[in-house]
Amino acid sequence: MERNLMKGNEALAEAAIRAGCKCFFGYPITPQTELSAYMAKRMAKAGGVFLQAESEVAAINMVLGAASAGVRAMTSSSSPGISLKSEGISYIAASDLPCVIINVQRGGPGLGGIQPSQADYLQATKGLGHGDFQVLVYAPSSVQEMINLLTKAFDMADEFRMPAMILADGLLGQMMEPVEFPEAKTHQIPKPWATNGTGMKRKHNIINSLYLTPEELEKTVLDRYKRYEVLENEHTEAETYLTEDAEILVAAYGATARVAKSAVIKAREAGVKAGLIRPITLWPFPKKEIVKASENAKHILVTEMNMGQMVDDVKLAVECRVPVSFFGRTGGMVPKPSEILDKILELGGAE
């Protein structure tokens, strides 16, 4: 298979087209813009629709419309733009529609900056809009993994009839790495619920998120949470590195996991038994994977490009059996391997 060099943003766009994405609705924002630009260039040739909406709010509601018709639809943005999309995402979740949303995170809050960040972790995993709902959240840490997870996100969104998010960051979006595109492994399933014409052969399908009878609304939410339970039990993912005998377990995802891995290798060279667990699904959160990886851990160090948004999830996963510390940089700063290494050595009791 031929290796090619691609930016993360471009790889996400190409992977979406190959996964059968037929409609892309976007609005430019740094550091995500190459994704929209790639779609603008390629989507029409691939037989799909690219549309630059008048705003992020419009773009997400176009996704709602396209997904209702049963086609694979996607939108992408960066942090402030995702906040604008949150109302539409709640409507999509409430309508049990599949779609893919990409967040190439930048520093916040507010307009913030344009450098890499992971400060939207809580938003993505806990509150991407009003109401009781979840979205699938995947956190790639390389350009190749962006391709693999994007394909998976479309498949899982279809299967579970819910939105899926790729939570990337400016570093992954902007960097180039060698990538390979596997032969299309995506599988599209029939969507009997889609509002794509009855052909006078069946009853009208209705896509709706308004239920004025509380009993009825409660039932839709409970049904959705049954699907969430399946996801939490069967579809968590994490990568482990040198965790079997790890006394200091580092937990990191996305771009930070790469920096953390460099630090873990250096810590081993310095004689500290360090290991790394990298959550790939941020929701559902890989609790059992973390419990297993921390069997011999004396201390867990969470590292992120934010103020410690994943710390509570890790503490709950290990039920506070192991002490959990945090090291992070925020506002667009990327932690240096040496900074994480110092923290590991300090916790490992090395001189």
């Binding site: 180039m176 790469r258 920096v259 460099s262 990327v334 391997p337």
Partner: protein, 176 residues
């Protein structure tokens, strides 16, 4: 042999392009690699820089902090990065634009008047590639032919006439 390379200068000098040439060389030689540009306000008029990692192992942190190969094309970038070069590392300096001289004895500095050489040879705008030529010669990181293959991959077919001038710039750098 693993290399962490940092390239820095003004926006418009072809810093990101020079990094791309190295990245594609890595691709052609089947190495692991990463290419990370600065994409902040600096690329809109200020200094631009680019991190390239070439390795036999998967790349961890793609951001180069202490390079073993540094290429600088303006004074501010020289001041900012020369102190970060790893002991034993090499720096490639466009001495037409950088007046400073390095006093470190633990690194090797190559002063190439690349901008002037480019003008003298009718290759305006190719100072970046002249420095790349010097870098591959002195570090042994890539063969000249690999650079040609990289350029053939990067430069679109309708601009294929630009490959030869670029190779001429590589040669000038190698021979300096």
């Amino acid at each position: 042999m693993n290399h962490e390379i940092l390239l820095a200068g003004f926006g418009g000098q072809g810093i990101l392009f020079a990094g791309k040439v190295l990245a594609y060389c890595g691709l052609i030689d089947n190495r692991e690699l990463s290419w990370l540009p600065s994409y902040g306000p600096e690329m809109r008029g200020g200094t631009a820089n680019c991190s390239v990692c070439i390795s036999d192992e998967p790349i961890g942190c793609p951001q180069v902090i202490d390079p073993d190969l540094l290429m600088v094309m303006n004074g501010p970038s020289y001041d900012k990065f020369i102190g970060n070069v790893k002991p034993g590392g090499k720096a490639f300096i466009d001495s037409t634009l950088v007046e400073q001289k390095c006093e470190r004895s633990d690194i090797e500095c190559f002063y190439v008047p690349a901008s002037q050489l480019a003008i003298d040879n009718g290759l305006e705008g190719s100072a970046n590639i002249i420095l790349i030529g010097k870098m591959i010669k002195e570090s042994g990181i890539f063969e000249e032919q690999t650079v040609r293959k990289a350029l053939e991959k990067i430069i679109p077919p309708k601009r294929a006439h630009l490959i030869e001038p670029n190779m001429k710039a590589v040669k000038i750098g190698m021979d300096f």
